[in-house]
């Protein structure tokens, strides 16, 4: 069918002669320097001298690998049933959050803005907030509105707590509607801190509203937190594992259904999420299990302090050992044995790792991403005999650096690694040229540096804009390890095959 239609996309179209010629002709206007000079300069940017200059840079960020707080807050809000993310600030931010998340998940993203303009900047955004609440309730009928701020509202110092009280007084906001709110200026932290702030606020708001007193350990239930997680498949995998234990649990902040709904023929604003009434009950659980740490600091702190919860948290459990630890902890908290089926699964995945080990062993890798993801990736790479070399974490801090360094020291494969927190993808580019590696691991944003360095990019993390469905496959647990292993080894094989001389273009690998 498509052959008959002879559909040519722009890539092929613009390789046609006439377009190539057109481009050549246009050079006259745009190239004040010679091709030799261009090549020479390009080569210069790959030198050590340039790298030093690049790393001496303090003021400007070139190609960042992080997003801002309210983006994370929107994701946290969508982890709860019939909850509308409501962003207090000027309208553009909201449009960005919606398209950013939509491009990653390929799903519609409900979120509204108070659309502050100049007058709000001068007189404060209270009117916008109150009118906005009234409008969005009428239009979208949420059961909870999760309000976060943008930097604009923070700079003028809008007082959300007072504004919301006024909204209730005016009757714009029904007395019984929960409205958690979080201050999420983008001039501090990143999307993971915003996620944390909003999740904490949701838990606190719903809990306080219930008027209960916590009875930790009263129920033999687990609380499970996945954090800022771009993989809807991770939620399914977590449920599958807990189900195999026969554990009862509450996932606090489950955005998987909102970001992975079916094409049923009827569009809805809300597809699922943690039921609101489950939140107060969660305070009575036997313990809390979190598979991210850096994106859940405040939330876990709140659960420990106010709910008196027993909390266990690790970074994204990628690979065998991290999953082992996770399962041991589920076993301890739930009082149930690790199921036989999971033990068998582990053996099978270890077998798969052995099948593939020859192709991954000794591969040098560079990686960029969020701190929790990177800790998991470092651990998994070390297990695979891959050597993490450059680790860039735009939103990492001292604690992350220490943890990463400690983990790297635990294996001879980590000996060469350097950890760069607070750096960006332009730093990464210098690292790739000065100390070349075989593979890069990270979000879609890393593809440009990887292409220049002529190495394949293994897409892991957030955001992934340019590949479909990766987020539907879990990367946590043994099953996740297998998925990542499959992605890694087959990419390596693809590259080998592309580069193979005829005599080693083998059928069996």
């Amino acid at each position: 069918m498509s052959e008959r239609l002879n559909i040519v996309d722009h890539n092929q179209l613009f390789r046609q002669d006439k377009y190539v010629r057109q481009r050549e002709e246009k050079r006259a206007f745009e190239a004040p320097c010679s091709p030799e000079e261009v090549t020479a300069t390009l080569e210069y940017t790959k030198t050590k001298e340039y790298k030093d200059k690049n790393f001496a840079r303090t003021a400007v960020v070139v190609n960042p690998a992080k997003a801002c707080q309210p983006l994370g807050a929107v994701m946290a809000a969508l982890g709860f049933e019939k909850t509308l993310p409501f962003i207090h600030g000027s309208q553009g931010c909201t449009a960005y959050f919606r398209s950013h998340l939509a491009r990653h998940f390929k799903e519609p993203v409900p979120a509204v803005s108070t659309s502050m303009t100049e007058d709000a900047a001068v007189f404060g955004g209270m009117r916008n907030l109150i009118d906005g609440i009234e409008n969005c309730i009428a239009l979208y009928q949420p059961e909870m509105i999760a309000v976060c701020t943008t930097c604009m509202a923070e700079v003028i110092g809008d007082d959300l707590s007072a504004f919301l009280a006024n909204a209730r007084q005016e009757g714009a906001l029904p007395e019984d509607m929960p409205v958690p709110f979080a201050n999420t200026p983008s001039f501090s932290g990143s999307h993971i801190t915003g996620y944390d702030a909003m999740l904490r606020s949701v838990l606190e708001t719903l809990y306080n509203k219930s008027g209960r007193t916590p009875q930790p350990g009263h129920e033999l239930k687990l609380n499970v937190l996945l954090g800022f997680d771009g993989y809807t498949g991770n939620f399914a995998e977590m449920r599958r594992m807990l189900g195999m234990f026969g554990a009862t649990y509450t996932i606090l902040g489950d955005h998987s259904s909102n970001f992975d709904s079916g094409a049923t023929g009827e569009y809805s604003y809300y597809y699922g999420g943690t039921p609101l009434e489950d939140v107060p009950k969660a305070a009575d659980a036997a313990g809390t299990l979190a598979i991210q740490q850096y994106s859940l600091r405040k939330t876990l702190g709140y659960m420990k302090q106010t709910w008196g919860q027993q909390v266990f948290s690790i970074s994204t459990p990628l690979g065998i050992r991290a999953t082992d630890r996770l399962l041991e902890e589920i076993s301890r908290l739930s009082g149930r044995e690790i199921p036989e089926a999971l033990k068998q699964e582990r053996a099978r995945i270890v077998d798969a790792m052995m099948d593939s080990h020859a192709y991954l062993h000794g591969k040098r890798v560079a990686m960029a991403g969020d701190p929790d993801m990177l800790i998991g990736l470092i651990g998994f790479c070390l297990e695979l005999g891959m050597e993490p070399v450059h680790i860039v974490c735009s939103n990492g801090d001292r604690k992350f650096e220490k943890e990463a360094e400690l983990l790297l020291k635990s294996s001879p494969y980590g000996a060469e690694a350097t950890v760069h927190s607070g750096q960006d993808l332009w730093h990464m580019r210098s690292l790739l040229f000065q100390d070349p590696v075989d593979l890069a691991i990270g979000s879609s944003h890393l593809k440009f540096a990887a292409k220049e360095a002529k190495i394949p990019l293994l897409r892991v993390g957030f955001p992934i804009f340019d590949r479909h469905h990766l987020h539907r496959y879990p990367i946590i647990g043994y099953q996740g390890a297998l998925n990542l292993l499959t992605q890694f080894v087959n990419t390596v094989l693809d590259v080998m095959e592309e580069q193979a001389p005829d005599h080693s273009f083998d059928l069996v690998r």
Binding site: M1, R23, A59, L71, S99, A121, Y267
Partner: protein
């Protein structure tokens, strides 16, 4: 029949009538909203491919938006880099002008761009950074134009930002350089962003008719090239809503006549080329355009034949902004598609009257956004497809409605004669996909079973 707008446009251009400038509508709090002025300004200026674009603000504005435009460049790619000052709390409290100075110097010394655009954001506008002062000082110091773009998000909508970017072009850039040579057939394209390479199609058509583009404003544009736009013989405003003001200003200051036109659909394309040729004042060029249009329309009509057959009588809901709201209608009508619903939320009063000229009262007008409204129209008017931008795509797919992306992220060029063919193919392609057979039927277990006696 000539499109009804032509007379009106010409009068405007001849100075008889100043177009009414209605303020951009204010966004309503609590609704799902579109982009902000900062976004609009970026959209207009980022296609200037050899310049560096530095966002002065916290991470939000750049961190969530860089590398997401479909404007193609035939050469330099510096504008695809994400530069930001990534302000933190300390910067907000103590000021960040020093950081901006350093950032500009770093970019100029390492990337040697012909110019740096520095974008104000909500935060730096509120804290009162003297961005113009910094830019001026650094321009003088470095000998590179450093251009302040004062369009923080809170001043209003995306459209307003585009207008403000037009002001920046007019005040700081146009008239700053001189072309090496000019001809009497030099045209500027204004508001054409080279999405999926559309501008290149148009350029080829113009060349065939003996006209050339003097300045691309701004799709596949170069900084110096925009600077000599004041030497053109005529301006064509391709996206009217946003940059019409620029054309008006250029007419007043440089006496360059302008017209509004579109390249969506064969008729509009021919009309636009004719209008250009008319404004060059060269009879020979006009004759060449006539020949070209006749030849292309004939060829196209033959090539479109099989697609027209498949598209005839199909019904579409069109939800797109500004100029596309009316110009795409023509294109769809040429393919035999009936537009049964059309979004007007980003259209001017003039745009709306052009929509009315084309479809009359036959279609539903959707003034306000929101998925529900679009879907309601699709259902009530029994539409076969939605033609809109990416933000509405997934919503349509949830409802199992065939969807064609017409906005900035698409990878197909729909402008010009070949573009219409490409659009026809895309529409047929979309409508014929076997997945619609799946969605048209219930799953077997949902069907009511008829039991035989």
């Amino acid at each position: 029949m000539e499109p009804a707008v032509s007379n009106g446009r010409l009068e405007v251009s001849c100075g008889k009538k100043i177009p009414k400038s209605t303020p951009c509508p204010r966004p309503v709090p609590g609704e799902a909203s579109g982009g902000c002025s900062f976004d609009g300004a970026q959209i207009t200026l980022i296609p200037i491919a050899d310049a560096a674009h530095l966002v002065h603000g916290p991470i939000a504005c750049l961190g969530n938006s860089w590398e997401s435009r479909g404007s193609l460049s035939s050469g330099p790619e510096l504008s695809a880099y994400g530069f930001t000052t990534d302000l933190g709390e300390q910067d907000i409290i103590f000021g960040s002008e020093q950081k901006l100075h350093e950032s500009i110097r770093y970019i100029v010394s390492r990337f040697a761009p012909p110019a740096v655009f520095v974008y104000t954001t909500c935060v730096t506008a509120l804290t009162g950074e003297d961005i113009e002062g910094v830019c001026k000082a650094e321009s003088e110091q470095l000998g590179t134009p450093i251009i302040p773009v004062n369009s923080p998000g809170f001043v209003g909508s995306k459209n307003l930002g585009t207008r403000l970017a037009g002001d920046v072009l007019f005040q700081h850039i146009i008239g700053s350089t001189e072309p090496e040579q000019t001809t009497s057939h030099d045209i500027n394209l204004i508001g054409e962003y080279n999405i999926a390479g559309e501008m290149w199609h148009i350029e080829r058509l113009m060349q065939q008719a003996g006209m050339s583009i003097l300045s691309r404003i701004t799709g596949d544009g170069r900084f110096r090239e925009v600077g000599w736009a004041h030497r053109a013989k005529a301006n064509m405003v391709v996206c009217s809503r946003a940059l019409l003001g620029l054309a008006v200003q250029m007419e007043r200051k440089y006496g360059i006549p302008y017209f509004e036109g579109s390249f969506y659909g064969a008729k509009e394309t021919s009309y636009s080329l004719r209008q250009m040729a008319y404004l060059t004042g060269d009879r020979d060029v006009e004759r060449r355009v006539d020949k070209l249009a006749a030849r292309e329309e004939m060829r196209l009509s033959l090539e479109l034949e099989p697609y027209r057959k498949q598209l005839k009588g199909k019904r579409a809901v069109l939800y797109t902004g500004g100029v596309k709201s009316w110009s795409v209608i023509t294109a769809l009508q040429e393919l035999g598609i009936k537009v049964v619903g059309v979004g007007t939320n980003k259209s001017t009063a003039e745009d709306v009257s052009r929509i009315a000229d084309r479809i009359g009262d036959d279609a539903e007008y959707i003034p306000e956004g929101g998925a529900r409204q679009i879907l309601k129209t699709v259902r009530s008017r029994k539409a076969d497809m939605v033609i809109a931008g990416g933000r509405n795509m997934y919503m349509a797919l949830k409802e199992q409605i065939p969807f064609v992306d017409i906005n900035q992220e698409r990878h197909k060029a729909y402008a010009g004669y070949d573009g219409l063919l490409s659009l026809a193919k895309q529409l047929v392609h979309t409508l014929q996909h076997p997945v619609w057979e799946l969605t048209a039927k219930l799953a077997p277990w949902e069907e009511e079973t008829e039991f035989a006696d």
